[in-house]
């Protein structure tokens, strides 16, 4: 990690550049939600923008870009496990949606019994 005066000055300039890009990406996120495109496309764009912002914070503010590679793997593990969890939940999500879509309304069920 940088510790000489010159390297520290360079790092401080980079911090401000990252801040600038984080602010720009946040403004872009706000713009994207009002775009006249499908909700799915908006969702995909927002995920990419949020991922980019998170990566900028992790790489430059948490200094992962200059840390040992193994530390990056430790940091990435939760993200990988979370994606894995979402895929494991997908079959259940399909079942919930099907049951909600085809469920008989409670009032109609009560009338059928009478």
């Amino acid at each position: 990690m940088a510790h000489t005066a010159e390297e520290l000055a360079h790092e401080q300039r980079r911090y401000l550049q990252v801040f600038f890009w984080l602010a720009v990406l946040t403004a872009l996120e706000l713009g994207v939600i009002y775009m006249p495109i499908s909700r799915f496309a908006i969702g995909c764009m927002l995920v990419v923008l949020a991922g980019t912002k998170a990566a900028l914070v992790a790489l430059f503010y948490m200094h992962l870009s200059v840390e040992k590679r193994t530390l990056t793997w430790i940091a990435l593990t939760p993200a990988v496990l979370c994606v894995f969890l979402v895929f494991m939940l997908l079959p259940d999500l399909g079942a919930i949606t099907r049951s909600l879509t085809h469920a008989t309304p409670p009032a109609a069920t009560a009338e059928a019994h009478h």
């Binding site: 990690m1 510790h3 005066a5 520290l8 790092e11 401080q12 911090y15 401000l16 801040f19 984080l22 602010a23 946040t26 996120e29 706000l30 994207v32 939600i33 908006i42 969702g43 927002l46 995920v47 923008l49 949020a50 912002k53 998170a54 914070v57 992790a58 503010y61 948490m62 840390e67 040992k68 193994t70 530390l71 430790i74 940091a75 593990t77 939760p78 993200a79 496990l81 979370c82 969890l85 979402v86 939940l89 259940d92 999500l93 919930i96 949606t97 909600l100 879509t101």
Partner: protein
């Protein structure tokens, strides 16, 4: 303990962390953050599952104040900048800079908590939302509340570091504690970036 036993103990316990030569504490914080990220990951995945499975899920922008939370996001990003500036200051031996930027970071965290309290009050009192009303309310209050607890913990942690800084505990060659609290604070910012996107915008 005999000299042979001391030598054995040193052989078993290296004095320098293999991944973070600066300190063992830094490695400990990274492992804690990885575990904490899994907690947030589980909550976000649960949120996604409940939302995807409910066709009647309200559009977040129709209930939540996007402009206010965008400002809160910007505020946390600003506090991340003041945090890295605090670390850069002490690495240059600038004690005054460290104290000033730590104080600004704490103020950013307190302002964020104040805005979150305002948002919650508005949602509960005026919008009639609650943690027990529906899945939207339950997931919203649990996710933002869990994050808010992290911000509050961060403010307390930063305050402890500021008190130690005022006592002159840190120098250009001994800034590990500042670096470790900075890691925690940036993590809180990183998580908010994701919560803001998934809960408020999508």
């Amino acid at each position: 303990m005999s000299s042979a036993a001391v030598a054995d103990a040193h052989a078993l316990e290296p004095t320098e962390s293999p991944l973070t030569p600066e300190s063992w504490g830094k490695l400990g914080m990274w492992i804690f953050l990885a575990a904490d990220a899994m907690s947030f990951g589980g909550l976000l995945a649960g949120y996604g599952a409940l939302r995807y499975g409910d066709p009647g899920w309200p559009r977040p922008s129709s209930i939540l104040g996007i402009q206010l939370t965008a400002m809160m996001t910007f505020l946390l990003i600003c506090s991340s900048v003041t945090m890295v500036e605090a670390l850069a200051s002490i690495r240059q031996g600038n004690q005054a800079g460290l104290k000033k930027f730590l104080l600004l970071t704490i103020c950013g965290g307190l302002l964020f908590l104040g805005l979150q309290a305002h948002e919650w009050t508005n949602l509960i009192v005026h919008e009639g939302q609650s943690i027990t009303k529906n899945n939207f309310g339950a997931t919203f209050f649990i996710l933002t509340g869990f994050h808010g607890c992290h911000v509050f913990s961060g403010v307390v942690y930063l305050s402890c570091i500021l008190v130690r800084a005022l006592q002159g505990a840190y120098t250009a060659h001994d800034s590990n504690s500042v670096e470790i609290v900075a890691l925690y604070w940036h993590f809180v910012d990183l998580i908010w970036i994701l919560v803001f996107t998934f809960v408020y915008l999508i």
